[in-house]
Amino acid sequence: MLEGHISRAFDGALASFHIRVVEMGGLVLDQVREAAAAYTEWVVAPAQHVLEREAEVNEYNSRLNDEQLLLIARRQPVAGDLRAIIAITNVVAELERAGDEAKKIARTVIAQGSRPGPATSRDVRHLGSLAVTLLRTALESFDRLDVALAAEVIAQDKELDEEYAAGLRRLMTRAMEDPRQVSVALEAAFALKSLERIGDHARNLARHVQSIGGDHHVLPETAMTPSGTSNRA
């Protein structure tokens, strides 16, 4: 989908653009995983690490945006190439936002307000693992430009949304049972919301994969036979 140009240099430039975005995706995935773990274990060090690496995520974001501009300026892509370059840049934006959500979770941990109880930790751990799985699958579909896998991500995001709603209800119940838990519940609700947003970014990423990878053509090349080929000048 990204290769096969007569200009192999263009193939190379597109491939390297794609690979660098996959790399950025790996970093963001790690950020999400680490932030969720820092929250459930309530330890500052990994959260601190997430904050430090956020600069790297931003660096990827700005460099890849520059790279997109250069590709457009130098290659003047059209059709599938243009859609792919725009979609890949949109993937970069989704990843950057997912990274921001990880940063928000990390900040909550660093502030060390009220420590969440075991039930809340369990909810966050559960939603965190769903969000990580979703983002990982979305990245795999992006890496391989696998449209079918992208469709699975989009379907699975609904499950994450439902888990988020259920988690929120449990938080509210606990807060109502014990009003001292209100501030914990509030912070935990923000963490859950961030994880739910990460799931949304994974879903959007999968949609961009669909726009790159799908076959948008109505007729296969074989429709050109037989007279077209027999008369080649």
């Binding site: 059209v78 599938g80 109505v218 077209g228």
Partner: protein, 313 residues
């Protein structure tokens, strides 16, 4: 052509039925043509892009100046163009793109019967200009070429003065009665071609003394001096630098307010910049035709995609 006309009618009926089933359609579009009796007939893919013989996209338009149906061109035994069906719309630019030898220039030359001058060339099918087939033996070719002007790849001003280059057409076609009329036509044509300010003080100087870009605009002035309905352009900018190219492209944008323009170009970017519709030819067949905005963002045929993204060959 009676057989193909019948099949056009048949397809129209079928299409009207299927179109009426889809509430999203505003009007039933004219049917795609399936001129082959069997075997190679393609089922309609969906309602808004028809298959002609093989053509993907909407090849008919509402306000057609040219309606070409089942056009075939043979150069001796070589079948250069196969079953081309396409309309040319008034006040629009139609760009024809495709690799060398794909038939786009051959098709362009059908529109003012330039193929008549090629020994052994044979053109079949109907090419209607305002409803009249230009292929008829009784058609006056000189009159046709006055209605369908042409601009070539290499600027070819006559070895005469700038004034006479533009005045030549109106003179031989007897369009003007007086010198004052002629002056008027020369002046307006040069103005419309965006050349007036550059040449108004040297109208008696030879046209060949102008720069390449100016010569090309002079040829365009010469073409519009006889008030054609259609202007054909065969790679009009391939010999020009980017600035002269931009001037000609800007001129095309202005001219399309008055004329239908058909342009053959090897520059995809040029096709994307100047045209409203784009037709992609490949090995003598019209593969895809559609709105330029769509063809360059979302071509429907794999071959079109491969060509415009540089994957062809």
């Amino acid at each position: 052509m009676s057989t193909s006309n019948e099949s056009i009618q048949e397809r129209k009926t079928v299409d009207a039925v299927s179109a009426s089933e889809d509430p999203s359609r505003k009007r039933p579009v004219e049917a795609g043509l399936n001129l082959k009796p069997s075997g190679r007939v393609q089922a309609p893919i969906s309602l808004d892009h028809k298959t002609g013989d093989r053509t993907v996209g909407q090849f008919t338009v509402d306000d057609a100046v040219f309606a070409c149906r089942d056009v075939n061109v043979f150069y001796g035994s070589k079948h250069a163009l196969r079953n081309v069906n396409i309309d040319v719309a008034r006040k629009q630019v139609l760009a024809m793109i495709g690799p060398s030898g794909c038939g786009k220039s051959t098709f362009l030359r059908c529109l003012n019967r330039m193929n008549d001058t090629v020994p052994g060339a044979r053109v079949t099918g109907t090419i209607k200009l305002d409803g009249t087939d230009i292929q008829g033996a009784d058609q006056d070719v000189v009159r046709l070429r006055a209605r369908v002007g042409m601009v070539f790849q290499k600027p070819n001003p006559f070895p005469k003065s700038i004034y006479d280059n533009v005045a030549y057409g109106p003179r031989i076609h007897g369009i003007t009665r007086s010198r004052a009329d002629l002056d008027e036509i020369v002046c307006t044509s040069l103005q419309r071609a965006g050349l007036w300010d550059e040449v108004k003080d040297r109208l008696t100087k030879p046209g060949t003394g102008l720069s390449g870009g100016q010569q090309q605009r002079l040829c365009i002035a010469r073409a519009i001096a006889i008030s054609p309905e259609v202007i054909l352009m065969d790679e009009p900018c391939s010999a020009l630098d980017p600035i002269a190219t931009a001037r000609v492209e800007d001129l095309i944008e202005v001219l399309r307010e008055s004329y239908a323009i058909v342009i053959v170009t090897h520059s995809m970017q040029q096709a994307a910049r100047v045209s409203q519709r784009t037709a992609y030819f490949h090995m003598g067949e019209l593969i895809e035709v559609g709105e330029t905005d769509r063809v360059f963002t979302n071509p429907r045929h794999r071959l079109t995609e491969d060509y415009i993204t540089g994957r062809f060959g």
